[in-house]
């Protein structure tokens, strides 16, 4: 997280730390599912085999402590079928679910986050929180950090991408957040974590996006997998849970 601050215990109790092809993030859904980005499991420009271990840690804001709290074994990995690992500039479908072998016991430091149910969670300017154990500019993070970012206007992000002559895919299954004028952003190691918005009506925190990609860090907008478009898939994968 660039330009953010250290989170206190219990601020983001859904936050998971993953260690697959490097540091990554995730969010707890229910009591035995981890929502993450597909590219943390199958990174772009990488061998398509998932032949490395998948370690998942939960329940703490300190990297050293969270690792001490033991790894949660994975029963099943589910990658969204639209995800294309070999298309370097296409992060469409960048979503995955990890089913834990055992349910976790919820508590003040370990709680699931909700899923969105309408488009209002993507209104321009709506402030959300992005948390993660990813890098802070050029420094590695030892603690969970977060940054508060606004949902950006889609046209602004498209224009910004055009100006940079990028051919990256900005699909309808993504949204962008941040502001080029601010030195605040998610960064490497935050992928898989969620963009969380507090719903004032229900007083619940809702994950609206998954940290997916960006061009550098804190020099523009960040791009997120738009979770509303994947709620049906998530529900199908999680079954009745």
């Amino acid at each position: 997280i660039v330009g953010g601050q250290k989170a206190k215990p219990g601020n983001f109790p859904w936050q998971a730390l993953t260690s697959i092809h490097g540091r990554g993030g995730g969010a707890l859904l229910g009591d035995r599912w981890i929502l993450t980005a597909a590219h943390t499991l199958f990174p772009k420009d990488h061998n398509s085999q998932l032949n490395t271990s998948v370690d998942v840690f939960l329940g703490h804001t300190n990297v050293e402590e969270i690792r001490k709290m033991s790894n949660h074994p994975i029963r099943r990995v589910s990658i969204h079928p639209d995800y294309r690992q070999h298309e370097s500039h296409n992060f469409d479908g960048d979503i995955a679910l990890l089913e834990l072998e055992n349910s976790v016991t919820l508590g003040p430091n370990l709680l699931p986050i909700c899923l969105p149910d309408n488009e209002t969670f993507y209104d321009k300017g709506l402030m959300g929180y992005v948390s993660g154990f990813g890098i802070m500019e050029e420094r590695i993070a030892y603690d969970l950090r977060f940054v508060r970012l606004p949902v950006a206007r889609r046209e602004a992000c498209e224009r910004w991408l055009r100006e940079k002559n990028r051919n990256d895919v900005f699909s309808e299954n993504m949204f962008c957040a941040g502001d080029p004028t601010l030195k605040q952003d998610a960064c490497q190691g935050d992928s898989g974590g969620v963009f969380a918005v507090r719903d004032p009506h229900s007083d619940r925190w809702v994950a609206t996006g998954i940290v997916s990609w960006g061009i550098g860090c804190s020099r523009g907008y960040g791009f997120y997998t738009k979770l509303l478009n994947y709620v049906d898939w998530i529900k199908k994968e999680m079954g009745e849970e």
């Binding site: 109790p13 229910g30 929180y129 925190w205």
Partner: protein, 447 residues
């Protein structure tokens, strides 16, 4: 002698008959008929030289080692001793007819010719059952059979009065009472010849066997009389009574035994007599009564005896249930049902069970939740109640629309011994994770 082949009838004649018989002749004809018959002989023609005392010529008839007469002369003539139409009958199956002639047949110097005789015999059935003549003057006539004699043509046979068996000599009768069996529900049994003196040397066994579930009562009648001795108990004759493998008593004398309740459907009476005595014996009436079992009685207030009867007899049964919420137990074993049957010995085949309050056991643990007793803590018996709760605020109980968590979480120990919820039955509630409700959400004071 001349033996005539054994026949049922025939003729006997003098030699040369009807021509004059020869002089100086003597022959004895042995007439025999089959055994079991006697010989009846009649002279149809008789013409033998008459003489005083039938001294010269004569016909002599004998049977059974006795002479039946000596005969001479002519039929219907006063001279000599003609047999006339007389029938000669033997006792046995043989008759001897001797014909004797002397050297001449003259009368006043004139030679006379006599034709001789023609006799006819036939077998007559011997009534062997008729009283036999005494062997001597002092002896009474000896019957052929000790009890009953049955004559038939050519023979006879003996039989015995009921209770006696014909012996090998086919004449005498021996009391037979070694295996008398009585199976009717009531009846009389008595010593042989009662009330006349019983026979000697008896070894009688009277067995009474009635249906299971009946009990036998014995009642002796007057007179009761079995040889006894003043100093020694029942030394001569004795009546022993057994039931249930035990001797109920040994009786003799003239004092009638008391009425006996055998408490059994089987009894045996053994009656032994010695070689002498003159007592009149005994007689009893046996009756039966159906066996009853004790009235079933509940051991606790929760036991229900179905359709309680005023009395129970052999093969009757009763069924026991428990009041709602109680469980039948036999010892430590729980029963699904209970039936007890009245046995033939008047006991129930199973002891009365008890009814124990149903125990639902420890309630199931609720994952991510807990329960507490709304009735007495730790008591899991019928009508106990618990309330399940989820560990809030992290979990929330899943409920169907319109059902409160309190209702869904209330479980009662039912009469079936199962914890049940009114709406969902045995299924315990689920505690679902609560999403998006951090206890310590991020807060930023600086503006």
């Amino acid at each position: 002698s001349i033996n005539i082949p054994q026949k049922l009838f025939g003729e006997v004649t003098s030699p040369l008959y009807p021509k004059p018989y020869p002089n100086n002749f003597e022959a004895t004809t042995v007439i025999s008929v089959p055994v079991g018959h006697r010989v009846k002989l009649v002279f149809w023609h008789f013409d033998v030289e008459p003489s005083e005392g039938c001294f010269y010529d004569y016909v002599k008839i004998a049977a059974d080692k006795k002479s039946l007469g000596r005969f001479c002369g002519q039929q219907d003539s006063p001279l000599g001793n003609p047999p006339g139409r007389r029938e000669f009958v033997s006792q046995g199956n043989k008759m001897l007819l001797t014909f004797h002639t002397d050297f001449s047949n003259e009368e006043n110097g004139t030679v006379m010719f006599y034709k001789g005789f023609l006799a006819y015999y036939h077998a007559v059935d011997l009534d062997e059952c008729a009283p036999q003549p005494a062997n001597s003057v002092d002896d009474a006539p000896q019957p052929r059979c000790q009890h009953l004699c049955h004559n038939y043509i050519g023979g006879y046979f003996c039989s015995c009065h009921p209770g006696y068996a014909l012996q090998k000599d086919k004449h005498s009768c021996q009391a037979e009472c070694s295996s008398r069996l009585y199976t009717e529900p009531s009846g009389y049994i008595s010593s042989l010849e009662y009330p006349q003196p019983y026979p000697p040397n008896l070894q009688c066994n009277y067995s009474i066997r009635v249906e299971r579930g009946l009990t036998l009562h014995l009642k002796f009648l007057e007179p009761f009389e079995i040889d006894d001795h003043q100093q020694v108990r029942c030394p001569y004759d004795q009546l022993q009574i057994y039931a249930n493998g035990k001797m109920l008593g040994e009786f003799c004398g003239t004092q009638k035994p008391p009425d006996l309740d055998t408490s059994s459907n089987a009894a045996d009476l053994l009656f032994f007599t010695d070689e002498s005595g003159d007592s009149r014996g005994w007689k009893l009436r046996y009756t039966t009564e159906i066996i009853k079992c004790p009235q079933p009685k509940a051991l606790d207030e929760f036991t229900i005896i179905q359709d309680l009867q005023s009395q129970y007899q052999f093969r009757d049964y009763f069924i026991v249930n428990c009041k709602q919420g109680y469980q039948l137990v036999e010892g430590t074993k729980a029963l699904l049902s209970f039936t007890a049957v009245c046995q033939d010995d008047g006991t129930w085949h199973r002891a009365m069970p008890r009814c124990k309050i149903k125990d639902c056991g420890q309630p199931k643990d609720l994952p991510n939740g807990d329960f507490h007793y709304t009735t007495a803590t730790g008591v899991n018996t019928y009508q106990a109640q618990i309330q399940y709760q989820c560990r809030e605020p992290y979990y929330k109980m899943y409920t169907r629309a319109g059902i409160s968590e309190a209702t869904r979480g209330t479980f009662t120990c039912t009469a079936q011994g199962i914890w049940k919820n009114e709406q969902e039955g045995e299924k315990i509630p689920r505690c679902l994770p609560v999403c998006g409700k951090p206890v310590h959400p991020v807060q930023q004071q600086q503006r």
